[in-house]
Symmetry: C2
Subunit: 309 residues, 2 copies
């Protein structure tokens, strides 16, 4: 799947993933009205609104982008109907030949991590049958529990030819609280470097063509750390959140890429899916939110090509 | 909810939570057969088997225990039908007046963490209505992303009078890989101590009667670290996994409790729900798996009372 991701990136010439994080306040009134008319102001109504909103975004952008990153939390908040909308979104994107990165940030130990891996990337056995649960192509994984938590994902990735992105240095303001602490028994280097080294080590056991199936998450909001981590993890694809709404620009992304122009996949969520709420794209209006998203993807691709690559 | 948890513990005289982690291989043949007859060897069939298995365990133990801890991964692996079985289990346990700890180990940033918090502990707004998604009483939270990831949960806890348990030192063999690293700029103390200090700080802003709504997870498999963390977090309830199948015994739990006999909640999953597969309870046989679970709860309560309290 890392090979397919890279192929899609080369074809679209856009190292971009659109974050499908549909918050109710970004969903245009006409979509909500129709969904609530059919299902009421219920969890089912919200799930229908999310799904219709996503479908509009996907239809308007799928030919421009290699991948999407639905954020599980934004669906899970609407309970079972929300999770069903997540699954529907995953399937629809795969039908459009997009690589789907489930941003689930799961992580547990042993058989429990295995269950998450099986449920999101692999197939679960029921009697003598096997079934796919959510069936994303990649998922994000939290490393706090160490190798016991990550290895079961790697095993499922090996079997399914799928991948993960392990959180290394996250994009949020307080990510340094624990991730930046200086480790005495590792030459006074920050924790995220040690996590990066582990990701490189895990990844070396499961290589695609030039890049590993085991990727990393490093926030665009920390360009200097991105540079260091790029060196520590030369064969690791880096999923980079924080562009756009979180404040990072094309120039901040320079060091996340390798000399081959590959190695980084930049995510934008609100900057794309809620582009119509941005003054720059206000002319599209709420009802043409999907066209605004398409315009924002084109601008993002240009910004990266001109300032980062 | 922390007050209710403590009240339940006092009433049952059992600082115990039963981990409802239904793996297919522990589910007796007759339950699987009936479920598969009705739904086939499908995700729905697996979900029905899990639910019937859980119901048996709950019916046989609810009068002896204060709380249960369903492990989300074990349901999520069966996709949407699995998550529906999770929700059914949560609701059934709450009807039995059990405190429900959703072991979800979620953690993200800002509005995304808020979405998880709202979906699992709070209510989500849909138009002018509000709806509960999964509606557990407590959930477990991963701290790797720092305060940005945890504060949204605390805000929802304040509003709903519910609680969280933050991972501090996990029970698995590789938990030390990152959690035990010595932090140079904190007097060469391990990372888990710093996380413990943060938990105490977060918790001080949301106190119940004597204990905070913000708890911690510390593995029974690390009794010495448990002693240190008990001192660092005197008003924090500690959720303690690792008893039984993972190897810890009653004597290992001594330092997790405060002098008031409170402050720790010991989880056992396989040791209870799969007790019938243990030689000690083999006489019950597979079909009486629930009676075996009840016997194992009684023995666990005795072990803790005699060796830990």
């Amino acid at each position: 799947m890392i090979n397919k991701l890279i192929e899609n990136i080369k074809q679209t010439n856009a190292p971009i993933t659109v974050g499908l994080d549909p918050m109710m306040r970004f969903i245009p009134g006409h979509i909500k009205r129709e969904a609530f008319e059919e299902f009421g102001e219920t969890l089912e109504g919200a799930a229908e609104a999310i799904w219709q909103f996503n479908k509009g975004i996907i239809d308007a952008t799928y030919d421009l982008i290699p991948a999407v990153k639905p954020q599980a939390a934004m669906y899970e908040q609407f309970g079972i109907p929300g999770m069903a909308a997540f699954k529907k979104t995953v399937d629809y994107c795969k039908d459009k030949d997009l690589v789907v990165i489930g941003d689930i940030k799961r992580g547990d130990i042993g058989s429990t991590s295995e269950a998450y891996a099986v449920g999101h990337l692999g197939k679960v056995s029921v009697g003598s049958s096997f079934h796919y649960g959510f069936d994303e192509d990649f998922v994000t994984v939290n490393p706090y529990l160490g190798s016991d938590g990550v290895t079961p994902f790697i095993n499922v990735c090996r079997e399914e030819k799928k991948g993960i992105f392990v959180l290394v240095k996250t994009s949020n303001p307080s990510s340094g609280e624990f991730q930046d602490r200086m480790i005495a028994d590792a030459g006074n280097r920050p924790l995220y470097e040690l996590v990066g080294e582990k990701v490189a080590e895990w990844g070396s056991s499961l290589m695609g063509e030039g890049y590993s199936y085991i990727g990393a998450v490093v926030g665009a909001t920390y360009p200097e750390q991105g540079r260091v981590l790029r060196d520590i993890m030369p064969n690791t694809y880096i999923l980079v959140p924080g562009y756009g709404a979180q404040g990072a620009t094309g120039a901040d992304l320079k060091h996340f890429f390798n000399k081959d122009g590959l190695g980084a996949l930049i995510n934008s969520s609100r900057g794309i899916i809620a582009a119509y709420t941005n003054e720059k794209y206000a002319k599209y209006g709420e009802s043409n939110y999907a066209d605004a998203a398409r315009a924002a993807v084109i601008d993002m691709r240009k910004d990266i090509a001109e300032n980062a690559l």
